[in-house]
């Protein structure tokens, strides 16, 4: 008779004993969930079926079950390190106390079961409590003037929201026309980037429009060596085909 092949049918596990041991040792099955008494019962039933006492099997079973019980006890009282320091007599006392407690609880459970069996013919209505909510909630003492002040504060016209930060200010193109004409009056040519350095993006855009306006009127010539290179502005029109490459900018 092989103990390890003992078939078990427990709440927490169903299968051969050796698989149970493997799962427990791998910590894939919490031992606290395993009913060791159920294992013993299954073994005793198997023994009874065979009608002969297999001492080897009994010995092996006792060793395995003892180990399981020790593991289970350690698992259940993991946080109770002080128990490990007890003398044998004290440990027996502690164990006896706990067994007594459990015996009482078991007795109480039996009493409840008997009570249930005796009162098995009690039928009564079950359902959610349909009690009306109690309307006893009262407000604290209130000051009407404070309520009026609160309502007035709520009814006041809200301050107008300012959109000033969203407004774009465009300087007139003429300002840059005059500026560029003045520069070209003094010099033959100038760099556009240098002239508009320090201006806002909007001002730079308007200045560029002014530049295009001057080019359209034939007052200036524009040169740019490469895309994104500085734009060179010269007085007068030279050759239309060669000078007009500002599109690449």
């Amino acid at each position: 008779m092989s103990v390890r092949e003992l078939e078990l049918d427990l709440d927490a596990f169903e299968g051969p004993f050796d698989l149970l041991l493997t799962l427990v040792l791998r910590e894939e099955l919490p031992l606290a969930e395993v009913d060791v008494a159920g294992i013993v019962l299954a073994f005793v039933e198997r023994l009874a079926e065979r009608e002969e006492l297999d001492l080897d099997a009994c010995g092996e079973f006792l060793v395995l079950v003892a180990a399981l019980l020790e593991l289970k006890a350690r698992g259940l009282f993991a946080g109770e390190a002080e128990l490990e320091d007890l003398e044998p007599g004290e440990a027996a006392e502690e164990l006896a106390r706990r067994l007594e407690e459990y015996r009482r609880i078991k007795g109480a459970a039996e009493w409840l079961a008997e009570r249930l069996a005796l009162d098995g013919d009690r039928f009564f209505r079950l359902g959610p409590a349909p009690l009306a909510p109690r309307g006893e909630r009262r407000l604290a003492q209130q000051d009407p003037a404070a309520l009026v002040a609160m309502l007035q504060a709520l009814a006041a016209e809200p301050a107008e929201v300012s959109l000033a930060h969203l407004e774009l200010r465009f300087p007139p193109v003429s300002r840059f026309l005059e500026q560029f004409r003045a520069v070209l009056g003094r010099r033959q040519r100038f760099d556009f980037d240098h002239e508009v350095a320090g201006l806002t993006r909007v001002e730079q855009a308007v200045a560029f429009l002014a530049l295009l306006e001057l080019r359209r009127a034939g007052e200036i010539t524009l040169e740019q060596a490469a895309p994104f290179a500085p734009i060179r502005v010269s007085r007068g029109v030279v050759d239309e085909e060669v000078a007009w490459n500002v599109r690449s900018a």
Partner: protein, 198 residues
């Protein structure tokens, strides 16, 4: 000419008794004397006397409905005589198939509660998570705050008292009355400990 049904002939509490009767019929859980006093807008003594009259009228063997004092209040139930017929028509999911593990867990919570799952596990010697969840689902135990270490604690519900026909938890037998041969067990363990090699 129709006359109202008189529970007790010429009793000055007739009207109050009828009102209480109506309240108990509508209620789906036991009503305390305080709740009845409030609903009837009457005095405690008069309500208690009226309940006594109703108890006499609705007692086992006299009526199909029985008035009982249970779970801290008063409630109607079916008479035992009608139990068989009731059983053919109605389920009792709360108490059906309560396992030994569930009964032991209930006993721990009833006597020791409020207590947490680790505490129940310590008493029973096995993990109780699934059993506790099942009892909560049945409505026999309920959460009752948290312990010092943050674990949820449980107590039995009024439904527990009603299912087991208890007036209150005080009606449970003393825990010390269970487990008779404790001294014998203690003696056996002590002798085993003495025999164990050091």
């Amino acid at each position: 000419m129709e006359r109202p049904l008189r529970l007790i002939q010429a009793n000055p509490l007739d009207s109050l008794a009828r009102t209480i009767e109506a309240l108990l019929v509508v209620a789906s859980q036991p009503l305390t004397v305080d709740a009845l006093v409030e609903a009837c807008a009457d005095e405690v003594e008069r309500v208690e006397t009226a309940l006594g009259l109703l108890g006499e009228r609705y007692r086992e063997g006299r009526s199909g409905i029985v008035l009982e004092q249970v779970a801290g209040g008063w409630a109607f139930r079916a008479s035992r005589e009608a139990a068989e017929a009731c059983g053919r028509l109605f389920e009792r999911p709360v108490e059906r198939n309560l396992s030994q593990a569930a009964l032991e867990t209930l006993a721990v919570v009833a006597y020791m509660g409020p207590c947490s799952r680790p505490e129940i596990a310590r008493w029973r010697g096995v993990a109780v998570d699934s059993v506790v969840a099942g009892l909560v689902e049945r409505g026999l135990i309920a959460e009752a705050g948290r312990g010092d270490l943050g674990a949820v604690r449980y107590r039995v519900t009024p439904l527990f008292e009603r299912v087991f026909g208890l007036e209150s938890l005080a009606a449970l037998p003393r825990l010390d009355d269970f487990g008779g041969d404790a001294e014998q067990l203690r003696g056996r363990l002590e002798s085993l400990a003495e025999r164990r090699p050091a």
